[in-house]
């Protein structure tokens, strides 16, 4: 499996395949609510947004050990679609509609696959934070 990014959603013009991100990926709820406590002890909560928007999630993926060319592909994707809605298929067979919310993006060269390899055999790490909601499975 891999992570597939398609953009711009819904009129897809570009599809890019990336390897699975490293472990310690993050999935967190982005819905917000306000809580109030009445004088009689009753607790009230007010949800921000409709039900769909309480299901927004933040996903943080670190693409580790990308080859140089794959990192260039990811950078080109980010340059073009940093503000676009993106359809993402992940390794858990989930389909998400997301935006990229971390800006700026950092790509860091971490090392080389083996001593003596060519310069182009370096591996690169890029972290991307998405914000969006799950629309289904495949």
């Amino acid at each position: 499996m891999s992570v597939i990014l398609q953009a711009p959603h819904p009129l897809i013009m570009t599809t890019s395949y990336f390897p699975n991100p490293a472990l310690e990926d993050v999935l967190a709820v982005q819905g917000e609510f306000v809580r109030k406590l009445a004088m009689n002890g009753l607790r009230y909560t007010y949800l921000k947004g409709d039900l769909a928007n309480t299901k927004r999630h933040r996903l943080s993926y670190t693409f580790d050990q990308l080859s140089v060319m794959k990192a260039e592909e990811l950078k080109a994707f980010l340059r073009s679609y940093s503000a676009a809605q993106i359809k993402m298929y992940n390794w858990k067979n989930e389909i998400w509609i997301v935006n990229i919310v971390n800006n700026p993006f950092n790509s860091e060269t971490q090392g080389r696959f083996a001593p003596g390899c060519l310069v182009r055999a370096e591996f690169i790490s890029v972290q991307i934070v998405f914000d969006g909601f799950k629309v289904g499975s495949f």
């Binding site: 013009m13 921000k48 927004r56 140089v68 060319m69 073009s80 676009a84 800006n103 971490q110 060519l118």
Partner: protein, 146 residues
Amino acid sequence: MGFFDFPTPSISPPFVGARTNVVLTYPFFSPTTTLTLPNPEFGDVHNIDMTQINRRTRNNDLIVYRDPIWPRLEKLTLRWAYLTGTQGNDLLGFYFASFGKVVGFKDWFDRQWQGLIINPSADFTQPIDRNCGAVTAILEFEGELL
């Protein structure tokens, strides 16, 4: 933003070569000063900063907007841990010569950049554990890949 405002990435792969050194040139056009340094240490960072707006509505919708003409800044942060004293002095001299001016930078992938050195007042240090005169230097370069 309309769907067709997004510039589609090129379908041809970018040029990525290989070099054993990097080259700084100044001025960018008709350079008179050229400085060749070894490739920097691992841990170099390529930072892409897109000017765009992220807003959340009161309904918790996320609105992300970017106008194609808004600037995109790309910054390279490079670090050398073992420059010789001469190379360190040459780099310092290059900082003086090109202060605030556009320079050229040929990276270790043999790609040509055009831009500015944005940390000309960076520290050059001789670490205490290196008694052979080695110098540590950090270069922050903001520019565009040609």
